[in-house]
């Protein structure tokens, strides 16, 4: 198995480029769904020890809506989408046409379902772009949903990877809107074995070799 510590900067750039392609497509799809312009930040590629959680959305106890997918196909892995609590109301208003009462502590089935659907569209658009770009097959599971502390969600997702590898490759992208406080954070966590597959596919596409 590939030592994640030996990922060279060229390879990180390549992964960032993959993430950009996916995120760009996902932003377009979500922008059409909710009818606002979506901004995409430059994706961040990092190799972390599974216990060192990133906390992009505030402290470990910040409540977020998490939409989680297992990814199957040529490059298996996981994707977790986190919507900040401030985003939930505006997103639901745009999708369902009605403003939820106050800050949503609990969501109705239809509200949770709407957020899962948003996740589905974002995840599928992201994966489609990746799959086309790398000429491979990538399939998401059905979404799982939870409204809870960001650290409890992320640590659970990372713990599942940790059984096989002490480190994880984390590809993060942030989506936001102008004018409305909507922030969606996307974590893509390819399995350790998927890294080689992805870099190889990129090498074939671009003619650049990543022998590191």
């Amino acid at each position: 198995m590939r030592d994640l510590n030996k990922l060279v900067s060229l390879e990180k750039d390549a992964l960032r480029e993959i993430a950009n392609v996916g995120a760009g497509n996902a932003a377009t799809a979500v922008s059409q769904l909710i009818g606002t312009v979506i901004q995409v930040d430059v994706p961040k590629v990092s190799i972390i020890r599974v216990q060192d959680l990133p906390l992009p959305l505030g402290g470990p106890e910040t409540v977020v809506a998490g939409i989680y997918f297992k990814l199957f196909g040529d490059a298996p892995g996981k994707m977790l989408l986190c919507l900040s609590q401030d985003s939930i109301g505006p997103v639901l208003e745009l999708m369902l046409g009605e403003k939820p009462a106050q800050a949503p502590a609990r969501l109705s089935d239809i509200q949770a379902s709407a957020l899962k659907e948003l996740g589905n569209i974002l995840c599928s658009a992201y994966l489609n772009a990746l799959a086309r770009f790398m000429d491979m097959q990538l399939l998401p599971s059905v979404p799982a949903f939870a409204l809870d502390m960001v650290s409890s969600l992320l640590s659970t997702v990372l713990a599942e990877s940790a059984e096989l590898h002490p480190q994880a490759l984390l590809i993060e992208t942030q989506f936001s809107t102008v004018g409305r406080p909507i922030t969606i954070h996307l974590f893509l966590i390819p399995e350790a074995g998927s890294l080689n597959t992805m870099l190889q596919a990129l090498a074939e596409q671009s003619g650049v070799s990543f022998d590191g």
Binding site: Q51, V142, D148, M149, T156, P166
Partner: protein, 161 residues
Amino acid sequence: MAESMCAKPPDKLACFGIGSCVCLALYDPGAKVAGLAHSMLPTIAAALVPPGGMGPADQAKYADSAVGFLVASMEKLGASRGRITAKLVGGAAMFSFAGPRTEGAESLGERNLRAARESLAAHGLALQAEESGGSAGRSIEFDPADGSLLVRSALADPRWL
């Protein structure tokens, strides 16, 4: 995460955002020494054991090795093994996928809890209380002055354990 800490009054211990992980809270009321370990996984896979053996971080990371390691750390602060009692928090299943669950499959949280309970029993430590399972994340605050443990979650009222 994957860490352990010990403390005596007036210091306090805390752990935030526990999902499928288990938090092991040990307390010696005689010496007023408290110990907390936050484990991510039930047991180390043979392939992941480092050549030089498991370091402190690795031992806390796995629920089965965390118990012995935490007891030894507490003994250095004056705790006595015979007086130590245990509380267990965490082991939730944060995400559930629609559709029938695979027959007999245990969630990671359940496996973490089982490993922690078995290891406590193997070390002869009494499990005094447990706030575990379910589908909600938890945070805890642990006070070495009286061994009280406060469990908080995002949507439910705080609870003393």
